[in-house]
Amino acid sequence: MKVFFTAALTIDLDKETWECAGCGHELGSARDNYKKGLLVRDREPSEIHAPVLDAERYEFTFAPDGDWCRILEYCCPECGRLAEVEYLPPGHPPAHDIDLDIDALKTQWAAREPLSEPALGPEFVAPPHSH
């Protein structure tokens, strides 16, 4: 059974593995950090959030300061889908952000119908005009 855990990651409960939600590439044990199965790239933040104001003239430009902030991009080694973006001070250890009790997850899903796609939640329904 597959659990759509994030927009980029699924868990195969039978195999207890993380998978890329884009291509199904296996990313390692679901009991471990999914990031271990991904590739990482350190980006200078101004490569993403480019200066709006002239960086030659101004100290503050709308671009983050590279001494304060780096952007780590995690992508699937197979299809290149961006799975997670992490903003960190330079050299700060990346977070083991999703750390699950897989046994509890299996018990929980044993009582549930498998899903063929992620459940997005209720549709927004605009209230009727009342005037």
Binding site: W68, Y74, V85, H92
Partner: protein
């Protein structure tokens, strides 16, 4: 002899009574302040519930009272004098006899009323038995000191007991972000506050009205303590009559359904909410989600401040563990009380996760919190916290990210998973003499224009609402300009490329270009973080917001330019700052942390509201959506290519689908080629301490040890000795200049 004194029974009671009667100072009571959960059911509530337990009937009573509360909220918004009241930064609510928040108005700021439980409990515990105070029908109490239970001192709450046949059966409450409170800077949110006594009014809960009549001696004292005496009086009257309207509606409900039904409805509303939240939490996966974020200043200096969150869900309980966050700053105002963090997180659940749950404090009953004590999220009693938003909003956003990672896999949701909402108060505070000769000090309604986060299948809403009040308003600019002596020459205009990129993009922030016009004494201040380190991330491959500076153009009077040479004016921050159309002016950028500064007529102050975070990989954004943003002027050609990799005709915006698919494939291959496996990457990337280029506060890789500015020195969390005391920024500047001068003199003597 020689044994320890053993005081038991009546003697023990006498000692307790003596101590309680001779208490020299009734500070906030830790027994009250450390309990965010529900009070135990009282014997009377038990009796009422045994008589009235039909859920349908109780729901009718609940809705009846809620309609009255919503009516009172309309009164508050329409009659309130403070900008905060006019634009929705207010709330009204009903509390149980014990003080628990049972019914908040459908609009308004949940955190405000969530925190009013504490002063009501203080009033019950201390003033009910005190012969000099007492609680009688027609009494109204007031509070603004956050340490007794407010989000921050700029808010003022009034509370009224609701009696039935001589007995209190409920409480009514109304809260407004009043703004001005007599602090060291106008507007009620002083970033210059170095001590709690710089923060202005410190109203512990006290009785301000008897027999439904405000005591003018006390009102005059309060008016005498703030810069807006008329506003102080006007809004006290408004809040009192809002409480009276709630009281009237409760009395009517009692007359129709009986007091037992009303008391049972208020109590069961809490218990049912607690039970339903526990049921919903059981649907979440068990585990821990970790998310850290950093703010980049204290409002006085740029430093890196960590907010560390481990959110653990097990069974039907949730635990927010903020240990490892920064130590407190003992002479800065950017610390947040723990009750403020809890109240904001109630807002997260009640508006962003379970908007269908009744708005009461039962939502937090299954939630636990852990903080280092003291720390920036649980400061000491004497530590300033007037600018608590600087850390509480970051703590809230960390909670938003972490909860969304728990929510996405749930087969049954009550609303949709959302990338982070923008979270910082990118707005102007102002103060001085108006064109009408009135002294004012307050905040622009643009505080409410935060960009919404993207959803899995929908872009975020532009300039939508603040994280603390999803149904507030950004106001009518022309209306505002009738009251204050400055205009927004560029107002509510989306700022190009100010976007949280993603498969779905965040709702964008607009730019504001202000100039003061009609006053001899008027100034502005700014109190926002995020000029060095962005305020929010994206979600699941989406990016966060950029950073936001203050841009200024001095030495110019734009009103003369608009009169004599209007064609030279430019209508965006980017053009004004990069093209420099006014030759003799001085152009500069700063962090968005301006201390109160008197403005010259016609000089420009410019900022932008923030964007919500993006959701998913930007390379998967539909090219048509990218072109729609292009067509609407929201993004540049640079972003359309650099971030979204769309190939199109720049004249017609016609997309070349094949070329776009090819370009995106190449971009993915480039990603893979330039990336490294995680473990290999970490070997090179991870350092054992902060770089030292930036003063760093908080844990690094071990949440039990924290830095206090020095990368080489660690302290046990909650035990930073000596406590963090920041130097006065002007002194830092003087010391630097004196050192340079000494060096120059030394060189000159050689």
């Amino acid at each position: 002899m020689g044994d320890d004194m053993d005081i038991t029974g009546a003697a023990s009671g006498a000692v307790d009574a003596f101590l309680s009667e001779t208490n020299l100072y009734l500070a906030p009571d830790p027994v009250i302040m450390n309990n965010h959960g529900l009070e135990p059911r009282t014997a009377y509530e038990d009796e009422c519930i045994s008589k009235e337990s039909d859920p349908v009937r109780l729901e009718i009573v609940r809705e009846r009272i809620l309609a009255g509360v919503n009516e009172s909220f309309e009164m508050l918004e329409n009659m309130g004098a403070a900008p905060g009241a006019k634009w929705g930064d207010c709330v009204s609510a009903v509390y149980t006899e014990s003080g628990d928040l049972s019914l908040a108005s459908s609009g308004g700021v949940v955190i405000f009323c969530n925190l009013v439980q504490y002063p009501i409990k203080f009033i019950r515990k201390y003033w009910s038995k005190d012969k000099t105070v007492g609680i009688n029908e027609g009494d109204v109490f007031i509070v603004n000191d956050a340490r007794y239970g407010q989000a921050h001192n700029t808010d003022q709450s009034m509370m009224m007991p609701v009696f039935h046949e001589g007995k209190i059966v409920a409480w009514a409450g109304a809260t407004v972000h009043e703004g001005e409170n007599g602090a060291i800077e106008p507007g009620g949110m002083p970033s210059l506050a170095e001590q709690i006594w710089d923060e202005g009014l410190k109203m512990s809960p006290f009785k301000v009205a008897e027999n439904y009549t405000l005591r003018r001696d006390l009102v005059t004292f309060l008016q005498n303590s703030v810069r807006e005496p008329k506003l102080q009086y006007a809004d006290m009257k408004v809040k009192m009559y809002v409480c009276r309207r709630i009281e009237t509606r409760i009395h009517e409900a009692i007359a129709e359904y009986g007091v037992e039904a009303v008391v049972a409805a208020l109590r069961m509303n809490l218990e049912d909410t607690d039970a339903e939240v526990r049921r919903r939490l059981k649907e979440w996966p068990d585990g821990t989600v970790r998310h850290s974020w950093w703010t980049d200043g204290t409002l006085r200096e740029n430093v890196q401040i960590k907010i560390n969150l481990e959110l653990t869900k097990k069974g039907d309980e949730l635990t927010f563990d903020y240990r490892g966050s920064s130590p407190e700053f003992t002479n800065r105002s950017n610390n947040s009380l723990d009750i403020t963090v809890k109240g904001m997180l109630a807002q997260l659940f009640l508006t962003f996760i379970w908007p269908d749950i009744p708005r009461n404090q039962g939502v937090l009953a299954p939630v636990n919190f852990i903080f280092d004590n003291p720390s920036v999220l649980k400061p000491g009693f004497g530590t300033p916290s007037a600018q608590s938003m600087m850390t509480v909003f970051t703590a809230w956003s960390a909670g938003q990210v972490a909860t969304m990672k728990f929510l996405y896999s749930n087969p049954h949701k009550y609303t949709r998973v959302l990338a982070p909402w923008f979270n910082m108060i990118n707005t102007f505070l102002f103060g001085g003499l108006t064109q009408h000769g009135e002294m004012v000090g307050n905040v622009c309604a643009d505080i409410n224009g935060m960009g919404g986060g993207a959803l899995a299948d929908r872009d975020g809403e532009h300039g939508c609402a603040p994280i603390f009040a999803t149904m507030s308003d950004i106001g009518e600019q022309e209306f505002i300009e009738e009251e204050v002596p400055f205009i927004q020459i560029v107002s509510k205009k989306m700022m190009k490329d100010n976007q949280g990129f993603g498969r779905q993009r965040g709702g964008m922030g607009y730019q504001m270009v202000l100039a003061m016009r009609d006053s001899d004494a008027f100034g502005f201040m700014l109190t926002a973080m995020g000029a060095k380190f962005p305020n929010i991330p994206g979600l699941f491959g989406g990016y966060g917001c950029p950073t936001y500076p203050l841009a200024r153009i001095r030495g110019v009077n734009v009103f003369e330019i608009l009169k004599n040479d209007p064609a030279s004016f430019r209508y965006s921050i980017e053009e004004l700052m990069n093209e420099r159309p006014f030759p003799d002016a001085q152009y500069s950028t700063h962090p968005m942390t301006l201390g109160y500064t008197l403005a010259q007529r016609g000089e420009l102050y410019m900022i932008a509201q923030g964007t919500g975070g993006g959701f998913g990989d930007p390379l998967e954004r539909a090219p048509a959506d990218v072109m729609r943003d292009m067509d609407e002027g929201l993004i540049s050609d640079d972003v359309a290519w650099r971030i979204y990799r769309v190939v199109y005709n720049k004249e017609t915006l016609h997309v070349d689908e094949a070329a776009t698919a090819k370009a995106r494939d190449e971009a993915r291959r480039e990603r893979i080629a330039k990336s490294k496996p995680f473990d290999a990457f970490c070997k090179e990337w991870v350092k054992d301490k902060p770089s030292g280029k930036v003063p760093y506060f908080g844990s690094w890789d071990d949440k039990t040890m924290v830095h206090a500015g020095d990368p080489d020195k660690l302290h046990p969390a909650g035990q930073v000795v000596p406590p963090v005391v920041m130097a006065h920024p002007l002194q830092v500047k003087i010391d630097k200049l004196e050192a340079e001068l000494a060096e120059c003199r030394k060189s000159g003597n050689r």
